[in-house]
């Protein structure tokens, strides 16, 4: 313990950097893509191919890291406690990088950044993904703020990427203004908490708030509220959702796909870290007691926001006439659904959210992809334009149908299994809270369950409305009695849509692998069993190769003892 912080940081830097490798690859890619244009010969090259290779490579790296740690529940802190590296982090990293790869593939197909803009577009995309990856793993308030900003700033530019389109600029401006406001509020909250506790290290702050009973102090309440507001903005949760429909309508569908999945995933991860760090079920009644004050408040608050978000999203979606806007409200509703899973405040909830996120990735990406392809075909995004469109390009409409029905939660599609995961968590937590003598929390869970079920019925209206227009109604040409012209999508477009639709179907039937993986990776870092981070000198001998051999805080008590012994 005689080493200074700086020395220790330095000594572990190489090892930390190895754990951070996928992100470093992204950083490198950004630099390369920016610089490559300086070479006159390559200044007009489309960057898509390079981008997809690098993104795929980074994803592969993350997968490799995963194979190294699937069997051990482990929590490690990188860079002196700035980032946390646990099963949850690695799952989300793979999630984000795989998603990045798929989105780049989509942009290559639909050609939304042309050759000239491609470098800018992919740099922004990579930068935003990098920020989201940091969001998913930050364990320090400073990092929380930085990562949210890092994820947001490129998103603003992406939203306004369709230059010369008024709506697009409007969307970007709206996004910036809202985002700026949210960041300011969040920064204020962060400074309150950091000032109050004298540290920015999240585990310590959360432990102090709950275990030492600081929860109800005004500064803490305000600080937490403001931070949650900042996260709520990224999540587009009611009442911080106003930017969402406008941005999605204004931005290109590809960007919409990216924002709706990646930024929600990252924000949910961050929310999960904060709320699960403060309270929740631990499985045994005695441990529960120490945290139950926070749980008493957190569960209802999360539940209320979750229900509001889902219900509002579903109700508002009904009146929409623009496909992207409708999907925007649908993403709001789904954010609410995932918040329901978190509201249970247990690890199963986190696992269910992971499962949900993966299925959501495919069904939402698919839906936005088909919208982008329809736009390429017709230049239209209004639902009414696509009357009877199934007779003109059947494959796109049928795949869109698969995605929408999966979003609705029809078995045997993946979306149903995702909702089912959330529902099981809610019912289970309801019983558990009852057993622990918390009837009001138990009823909150049951109410959430009912709200979730009824919301599924409400959402039927607008998802099926789209299908009704596209499949049941007569085509425009039919009404005007002109011959119907087939407008099949390019074969690669169809292949992409069909492939993703198949994934949605397979995930709904062959559930075991994903359910097991998300169940295992739901092992979110348990801040409560984490002591103040101390710095040890040099890597411990038993650390696996290729992973950060730094501090091992351990998920369970056993491991903690081991770590202490070494010091």
């Amino acid at each position: 313990m005689n080493a200074t912080f700086a020395e220790a940081l330095q000594s572990r830097l190489p090892a930390d950097a190895v754990a951070f490798l996928p992100e470093l690859v992204l950083c490198g890619a950004i630099v390369v893509m920016l610089l490559i244009r300086l070479v006159p010969r390559y200044d007009r090259v489309h960057m898509g191919a390079i981008a997809i290779l690098i993104a795929g490579f980074a994803c592969g790296l993350a997968c490799y890291q995963w194979t190294q740690m699937t069997n051990v529940a482990r929590t490690e802190y990188l860079f002196g406690g700035m980032l946390v590296f646990d099963n949850f982090t690695i799952f989300l990293k793979i999630f984000l990088l795989a998603f990045l790869t798929l989105v780049i593939l989509l942009t290559l197909l639909t050609g939304i950044p042309d050759r000239e803009d491609s470098a800018d577009f992919y740099v922004l995309l990579f930068g935003s993904t990098l920020g989201m990856s940091l969001m998913a793993s930050s364990s320090h308030l400073l990092m929380v703020f930085l990562s949210i900003e890092m994820a947001s700033l490129p998103s603003y530019a992406l939203a306004g990427f369709l230059k010369g389109r008024r709506q697009s600029s409007e969307a970007a401006l709206k996004y910036v203004v809202y985002g700026g406001g949210a960041s300011g509020v969040m920064l204020y909250g962060i400074s309150l908490l950091a000032g109050k506790f004298g540290t920015g290290f999240l585990p310590v702050i959360l432990v102090k708030i709950t275990a030492e009973g600081h929860l109800m102090e005004p500064a803490v309440v305000m600080g937490l509220t403001f931070i949650l507001a900042g996260i709520g903005f990224k999540l587009a949760s009611v009442p911080f959702h106003f930017w969402c429909p406008d941005v999605f309508e204004g931005a290109a569908a590809e960007v919409g796909a990216f924002l709706s999945v990646a930024s929600k995933g990252a924000a949910l991860a961050m929310l999960a870290r904060v709320v699960l760090g403060m309270g929740g079920l631990t499985g045994t009644a005695d441990r529960f007691d120490a945290w139950n004050v926070a749980t008493d408040y957190l569960v209802p608050v999360l539940a209320v926001f979750a229900v509001l978000t889902t219900t509002f999203g579903n109700l508002a979606a009904y009146g929409q006439t623009n496909l992207k806007r409708l999907l925007a409200y649908s993403t709001i509703a789904h954010a609410g659904f995932m918040m329901m899973g978190l509201a249970a405040l247990n690890r199963d909830g986190a696992a269910a959210v992971l499962f949900y996120l993966v299925t959501y990735l495919f069904m939402n990406l698919g839906a936005f992809a088909v919208v982008a392809m329809l736009r390429n075909l017709t230049g239209q995004e209004d639902i009414s334009y696509f009357r009877g469109f199934i007779y003109r390009s059947p494959i796109l409409v049928i795949t869109l149908g698969v995605f929408l029905l999966s979003l609705l939660g029809m078995p045997p599609l993946a979306g149903f299994m995702a909702k089912f995961h959330i529902f099981t968590v809610l019912y289970d937590a309801g019983q558990e809270y009852d057993r622990l003598g918390k009837p009001h929390l138990s009823w909150t869970m049951y109410a959430l369950l009912l709200a979730g079920g009824l919301n599924t019925v409400i959402s039927l209206f607008y998802y099926v409305k789209v299908l009704k227009v596209m499949i049941l109604e007569k085509t425009l040409e039919d009404v005007e009695e002109r011959p119907v012209e087939a407008k099949p999508a390019p074969i690669l477009h169809s292949a992409y849509a069909v492939a993703i639709a198949l994934v949605v179907l397979v995930l709904g039937v062959y559930v075991n692998p994903l359910a097991d993986a998300s169940g295992r990776q739901g092992g979110i870092a348990d801040f409560r069993s984490t002591p103040r981070p101390t710095v040890t000198k040099g890597p411990p001998k038993n650390a696996p190769i290729g992973l950060n051999p730094g501090m091992k805080m351990g998920g369970g008590k056993k491991k903690k003892k081991k770590g202490m012994g070494m010091e």
Binding site: L405, P411, V457, F461, V464
Partner: protein
Amino acid sequence: METDLLMMSLCIFIPSAFALGLLFFPKGTEEYMRWWSLVGTAATFVFSMFVFIDYYAMLQRNQDNTLTPAGIRRADASTQLSARAEAAANVKARSGEPSSDDGLARYPWIGRFGIEYYLGIDGISMAMVLLTTVLFFLSMIASWGIEKHVKGYCMLFLILETGVLGTFFALDFFLFYIFWEVMLLPMYFLIGIWGGPRREYAAIKFFLYTLFGSVFILIALLAFYFTDVQDFAPKETVAAANAAVKGKGTAEIHTFDLVLLAKVGKQGMDWMHLESEAERKKFVQAIVDRREKERNPTSAADVERRLEQAFFSPTFQYVMFLFLFVGFAIKVPIFPFHTWLPDAHVEAPTPISMILAGILLKLGGYGILRIAYPICPWAAHALAYYLCILAMINIIYGAFAAMAQTDFKKLVAYSSISHMGYVLLGIAVWPESNFNNWAWGMNGAMYQMIAHGISSAGMFFCVGVIYDRAHHRNLDNFRGLNEPMPLYGGISALIFFAGLGLPGLCGFVGEFMVILSTWNFSTPDHPHAGKVLAILAALTVVITAAYILWTLQRVYLGTNPAYKDYKDITPRELVCIIPLAILAIVLGILPVLILQWMEPHVTGLVDSLVQLKM
């Protein structure tokens, strides 16, 4: 290779495979697509017959004529689902190989929730499966008239068959639910694309009602899953689960297994019927003792905990029964959830109306019989009186509403509501004593479902035949159709009389059995309830006769020059309707053809529900 697994799975998925095959038909080969789909439904029918033969052979193997107290043959008891499930578990534990001839097949599917691909047949599901495959085959013949988007129609039609058959075969609640939902979408599009003028409204209404009901079924499903059933699970399962936690207390066991859940529900009812606290303690202690050997040591706290089991609480049983009942009642449909039915039936094209009335309604009744009653028997018993009232409202309201219709198809739709009321009545008359009567009622309800499947499908087909010629369905504008179409008139009369419940035709048997058992129904508060209900039900038969005869008179009798040149029924239409007519007659004269293999398991269900009180 496990033959019964293969047969049942083929039966379920052959239609889907044929639907996929349709993808490869080029445009312009509509006629071949129809034949291909017909072959698909025919193949499914053949495989369902194979399943039936295996099932029948299994019954024969276990034939023995001594009777249990409830009046079922002793050896048939070993063919009951619960007995077979236990035997199957034993065989599997002993030899590691599942047995091939027990009509059960179970394989793990989703490990995280212990969800299984669990299929099985008994008399109840077998009857429904056969009805399904026959009607789908006949409706496919009736579908020849569909000209629009034949490929899409046939694909949806075949996927619908997969959904229906899967629902009837599933013995895992989760699997059941999946198939239940799979049916929704094809039906939505079949009504929505190929339906009449108000098809979109009717289709979304159907979708919305059923999905609303599904939410309640889903909640019940979760509630059952999260109940710990370790006291009732087979000892192999308990031992395996306990081994997995390595001696750290006892492992909880959660299941979607309908057979096991039925056992749990039954125990819950037995327990709630016990009067004194001491008796209840003893009951629970007995459960605990029985499990002692397989489990880590039990304590007094263990016993206490069992006293608080969810299934042992009336509230739980009430709430879950109501959830299940609402979910299934929407499908039956039971008043006041019936309003989707007239719209859906009227707007759907003829073959789809046949499927809707002939099979989809039966899914509701089947769900009540297979899930709601066995798992929540206590609530079912306690609510018997009110269920009977609901059934009675259905019967009377449906009959009067039918009489008031001027649209031919709507009349048939309302008559369906009325007839399905008998099904619920037969199920609901849970008496205080003399359970043989209830067994009559249950069997009557099952028989009524089959008979109604045949007669209502036939009636919708008859309506379709004249709609194709006259292009309207207004009862007041017909007259004298018998003159140009004598053969058609004759067959229609036969089918309509079957629906009316004329003795000698299939409709009579079920209704008679139901009314007979209703007569003996009574509750402590309402000692004469059964007599009143039976008289009312019998009187409604007169109203049914009235509207059907009146309809026949308005449509077929008299002369009408406007319809003079109508062609009589075509050979294709004859192929579709003749089997239904034959079935209507044969099942009316020889109910034993069905009852002999269905009755053991229907009576077995009654027997298992009332055992304690014998």
